[in-house]
């Protein structure tokens, strides 16, 4: 039983070692970006799919990670590795603050507040010339002395696996039960002795730290940080990945990230319209199959 449980993840991790050996640089790039989205969608799912706080500030927190790390490297000469960790810390801190601000809000009010936060942050970054270089973007040093897509891929893979392992353990612990209790019914959870405010703020801080970490890595990989990272377009893409894959499940956002990122490479010729398409699909999924691809899969298996 224990062997069977670890069989699939170990197989997938072994499989994940090969892409740099067989894929072209272009597709390796796509894989790296996919891993970034796995980190983003999975951590957003921990917040939205497990505590019911549908935040629109997740991309903004990845922007916080990217810019904090980038600016520390450019202006203070700090090593990107240190910068990324500090960026994750900055994400956690701001996430804690935003979570605290939202404790009395639910549903659409929380979404709108976080959307406002996200836009404020993006506008500040866009209009700031000296520190963030506005729309021109901030050029940052890479992670490795010698630029290597393969090394970057392995780094992204290791961090992604660590984050996923953490999320998996977390949602299968008592915390997972507590988070879902808050998602199901906050009043009843509170009347059962659960400190719902602590749960909500913790979820915000924790997932924002993950977004900050992902954003920091992403920024140093691209070596150019622009206000596109903390943009709503990016946010909706992450949201679509989690929703289409299956919110509230562990595997859903992972599958959704790979499917949508690879798909978007094929429909890139239609420009920004691919985000529109994903938005429409996500809407349809949310309406007709709220548990996403994972839900459809579970249902078809149940029927057999």
């Amino acid at each position: 039983m224990a062997f069977k449980k670890y069989c699939l993840p170990i197989f997938l991790i072994i499989l994940a070692i090969f892409p740099p050996l067989v894929l072209s640089p272009y597709w390796l790039h796509v894989m790296i970006i996919s891993l970034f989205y796995v980190m983003m969608a999975s951590s957003w799912n921990l917040l939205a799919g497990f505590t019911g706080q549908v935040s629109f500030a997740h991309a903004a927190f990845s922007g916080v990670g990217a810019y904090v790390s980038g600016m520390l490297a450019v202006f203070l000469g700090l090593s990107p590795w240190m910068g990324i960790l500090l960026g994750a810390g900055a994400g956690a801190l701001l996430g804690f603050g935003l979570g605290f601000l939202c404790i009395r809000m639910g549903g659409i009010y929380l979404s709108l507040t976080t959307l406002g936060f996200s836009e404020i942050l993006r506008i500040i970054i866009t209009n700031e010339e000296k520190w963030t270089r506005g729309t021109m973007g901030l050029q940052t040093p890479g992670l490795f002395a010698h630029y290597s897509k393969a090394d970057t891929y392995y780094l992204f893979l290791i961090v992604t696996v660590l984050i996923l392992f953490f999320i998996y353990r977390f949602i299968h612990s008592e915390w997972g039960v507590t988070f879902r209790a808050v998602l199901n019914d906050e009043v009843a959870a509170s009347a059962s002795g659960i400190n719902t405010i602590q749960v909500r703020v913790l979820a915000f801080a924790l997932t924002s730290a993950m977004a900050g970490l992902a954003g920091g890595l992403y920024g140093h990989y691209l070596m150019l940080i622009t206000p596109d990272i903390p943009s709503l377009g990016q946010m909706f893409l992450v949201l679509a990945m989690a929703v289409i894959g299956g919110m509230g499940s562990f595997a859903g956002p992972i599958i959704g990230s790979f499917v949508l990122e690879i798909l978007s490479e094929y429909i890139r010729v239609y420009g920004e319209y691919h985000v529109l398409l994903f938005g429409l699909v996500a809407l349809a999924v949310a309406r007709f199959a709220p548990e996403g691809m994972m839900g459809i899969w579970a249902k078809s298996r149940g029927r057999q």
Partner: protein, 236 residues
């Protein structure tokens, strides 16, 4: 204790106490302030004046989860189990909610949750989603979740509403078992008169926010003011 909402005073200077291990019933016509009184005790909102003392300690101003951890658990008038969670997980939430200092193995907690499900008559339903339960099963599940917090006082808000006579009989047996086996004080609101009169040691009657009578079930039913509150005044 007094509580007003705008111009309406829902609970007016109500004063009472609960003894250890007692079953006390709270009755009164619709809008008498019964649920408001419950919410005042449970900390859903604070009383304007007056205090709730629990073992001599004032609990006014404490948050809902803190009151629960002190030992006051409740069920809801309209059942609120965690619908998309299994029965076992529902009860587990109450156990986690105790916030015990010493750490215990998860298996141990799950075992305890299973025992509680068995106690309320939900053995074998551990993995079923709460969503798929019948009304009485949901009520039983809520009681198990409340018991899981290890309360000293259990507040039951109309647990018998919507149940048929044989289900009411089962529920009353369960309430009696909760008192005798867990030594828990029970304070309950009920509209099913026969049941509450039979099972309670003491009855408190509210009407328009005031306490109009307190006493043994037998005394209460023959009290002129109580009859008036329910049926109207003789010459009206």
């Amino acid at each position: 204790m007094t509580k007003s909402f705008g111009g309406l005073t829902a609970v007016k200077a109500v004063d009472f106490h609960l003894g250890e291990g007692e079953i006390v019933g709270l009755i009164g016509p619709n809008g008498a302030g019964k649920t408001t009184l419950f919410n005042l005790i449970g900390g859903i909102f604070p009383a304007d004046t007056g205090a709730v003392l629990f073992n001599g300690r004032g609990i006014k101003g404490l948050k809902t989860f803190e009151i629960c951890r002190l030992g006051i658990a409740r069920t809801f008038q309209i059942v609120r189990p965690f619908l998309k969670m299994s029965c076992l997980e529902n009860v587990l939430v109450g156990i986690i909610g105790r916030n015990e200092k010493q750490r215990r193995k998860e298996e141990e907690k799950k075992g305890e949750a299973g025992e509680l499900l068995k106690f309320v008559g939900l053995a074998g339903e551990e993995k079923k989603l709460a969503h798929n339960l019948t009304l009485i099963q949901k009520k039983r599940l809520e009681m198990a979740r409340a018991l899981a917090t290890r309360p000293k006082v259990l507040l039951l808000d109309e647990v018998l509403a919507g149940l048929n006579p044989s289900e009411i009989h089962q529920a009353l047996e369960l309430i009696e078992a909760i008192r005798s086996e867990h030594r828990i004080t029970i304070f309950w609101v009920e509209h099913v008169m026969g049941a509450i009169m039979k099972a309670s040691d003491r009855i408190i009657v509210l009407d328009q926010g005031r306490k109009i009578k307190e006493g043994k079930p037998g005394e209460v039913v023959s009290d002129q003011r109580v009859i008036e509150a329910y049926l109207g005044e003789p010459d009206a």
